[in-house]
Amino acid sequence: MATTAAPPATGKLVGKRLRRKEDPRLITGTATYVDDIKLPGMHHACIVRSPYAAARIKSIDAKAALETPGVVAVYTGADTKEVGPVPCGASLPGLRVPHHYILATDRVYFVGHPVAVVVAGDKYVARDAADSIEVDYDVLPAAADPEKALTPGAPAVHPEWPDNTAFTYHQEGGDIAQAFAEADVIVKQRITSQRLIPTPMETRGVVADWKPGDKALTLYSSTQIPHLLRSLVAGMLGLAENKTRVVTPEVGGGFGCKLNVYAEEALMSFVSMKLGKPVKWIESRRENYVATIHGRGHVDYLEIAAKKDGTILGLKLKLIQDLGAYHQLLTPVIPTLSVLMMPGLYRFRNVTADIVGVFTNCVPTDAYRGAGRPEATHAIERMVDMLAAELKLDPADIRLKNFIQPEEFPFATATGLTYDSGQYDLPLRKALEIGGYAALRAEQQTARVAGKLMGIGIATYGEICAFGPSPATPAGGWESATVKVDPDGKVTVLTGSCHHGQGEETTFAQIAADELGIGLDDVVVFRGDTAIVQYGIGTFGSRGTAVGGPALYYALQNLKKKLKRYGESALGSDDVRYEAGQCICNKTGKTASLAQLAGASYRALKLPPDEEPGMQTTFFWEPPNFTFPFGAHLVVTEIDRDTGRIEIKRYVAVDDCGKIINPLIVDGQVHGGVAQGLGQALYEQVVYDDNGQLLSGELTDYAIPKATMMPWVESHHTETPSPVNPLGVKGVGEAGTIGCSPAVVNSVVDALSSLGVRHLDMPLTPEKIWNVIQQGARA
């Protein structure tokens, strides 16, 4: 069970189920978020956004706004034209990149496109004045659906590219023609992963503070990537990076949507530089839904080829990715991750994939929890279930038959990855055992006879984590850590992986405390201020612990070497060891504590040879490979015939994320991931009408799961350490989301299979299920 008491100073902390150090401030409402920041002379900004998906801007009349008492400025696209474009970090061959001005200039491309900004001393004055700005639009036809946007004659999102195609991308491995020629059975299906809105509890927010005297900018932003944000915003504004400081206070949820650089971050900086005043902008919820990236947006056409005995031979994929109107930081990269992940956990080596990236007059899509991997896993796991149904094989058996075997690692996949390690049958067998699979199947038979609709769904998944080796990551994929011991022997860790809810304030303290033989409370973990923390990449792609952790581990090893040299000096011996928070002379048994050694390093009366004063090390760690966690989720559902309501009776999650540093935090990550996976499977969908109007524009229309809609998650693990890093960790932030949606949909399709149902697209709303049951009843 979790404990709040500080464990003994020398106790092994890694692997313990400890409550998070960061929680007291979070659950008592005393944490500082961007909106809590109040600076002297601070002004407030409100952004005027386009109500049209596509229109020419004929004129903007800001006279009334400027005459409003309290309003100090209004800026439009004409004023901000010189600011660099919102950056796209992706580079794909032939990628079409529209120039993404921070404010629209002559044309708007999606509902929510920023058109003007109003600045006032009071936020309500700014908001009211924004309403008085008259924008005269010449409305144009819009393309809102990615498949329709590809049809000839569809309205062009960007007039210079009438085919609405931002890029095409092809990847193949093995011999797909032969695989399909040899197949006994080929199963085809169109599968969608609908657009989703990430919906962090805290929307985005920015405070920009330009100090005219210093010509220096401090930018407070709710972001996952403070250092990258600094580099890119400085570039957009022509500032030097050493005069640009990004501070990331508490972040109330990122989920990928804050792995980005947004127009507002540069815009507020621009405004602050113009006015010489701090300026705050806090995104409203409705604004968040039209101004912050959406996730997913896939239409996949799949074909799977197999032998009669269930041996999978190959997979074909045509992927239509709804990009939205612009590329945000990683927009075009996301579907390429889906392609990488296509083989799942299976041995087949023949794949071919074609992506078409499509511009639509919608909010740009980008990374959302899982980012390309949930889409791929959903598709492959649905296909494997359909194949099992076609061949009348048990869905568990067909998976066990096709898994890569333990002796085959490292395993080179058809998509060019090298899977590091795994024993893929373990989590599945464990899930089947915990779920009582054979008994569940028997129960299902009885239930069917009684007219009940009970389903059992299995999904096994693999994911790419620990992003990643730098050649495969747009801005570098290493991570950094600094460990400082102050003169009193207390330790501070500065991590470049800017965690924001993943619990590294605790897990990194566990690692440091164990390595240094000190208590959990002797360590403070700090992140999120580019003026204090060495350059880092950030937290996304389940990399916080898997890349940031090893950086910390190696910094600690170097620190221990340094401590040992000071120990040799202090104890007058070259035969000392560092252990349990002190240096010990192996001959005399004399000791020097961490505090004594640190104190001596700062007092610097007697420096070890060739050693500098102070007790601090920094390590930048480049990962040699990704890590590849895996797992199996088993879901039991029962469907109400009269209402179409799906009840989740059991949810068994067995996740193998490598070595577990804190089981409580890992379970929390799985639970949160499952919640967002359930959201996609059952409730959430972004709805645009044909004119590009967002119809699911607030939380009454966009159904994220509430606490009462969550099943009890039976969270279990297997532990296959990763050979890629010294901690053996793999990453778990996205696992729940990736395993969830196919397991739930497989379960529901299984329940409805007696009615002839073979596939259903998400979300599985009661209305959709009710209609299916009605049709089944008629058939």
Partner: protein, 148 residues
Amino acid sequence: MKIAGTQTLPLSRECAYRAMQNPDVLVQCMPGCESLEATGAQEYAMKMKMALAAISGQFQGKVKIADAAPPERFKLIVEGTGKIGFMKGEGALELTEAGEASTQVTYEGDVQVGGTIAAVGQRLIDTTAKMMIRKFFDKLVEVTAGMR
């Protein structure tokens, strides 16, 4: 969104037709309408207030009558923009005699909304539109009571 329906008015067809072309009558009957000023032949500038769920706001717009074939039919084109978005509607109205001093109005049209009203109020647009049409005709009957 498509809207269609019928309504019987206790007026002769000529009278009903005239009433529905009369800005002084319309301004009283259109829910939320604050002013209606002629800007040309069968074209009016309109100010109206609209409330939908948690949002409300003023619209400025145009009302245009087209394809007029008195007293049988006309087309009504309404466009408005405001702080909470925009609306665009087009409707065909047909008047048929339904006995003495009784006219049946058949209407069919399409309404488009955008911006915040679409994002926030989509679920209520249908019922709100129906309610507004009902209120319009109820008021029309009341206002034209003396014209019979």
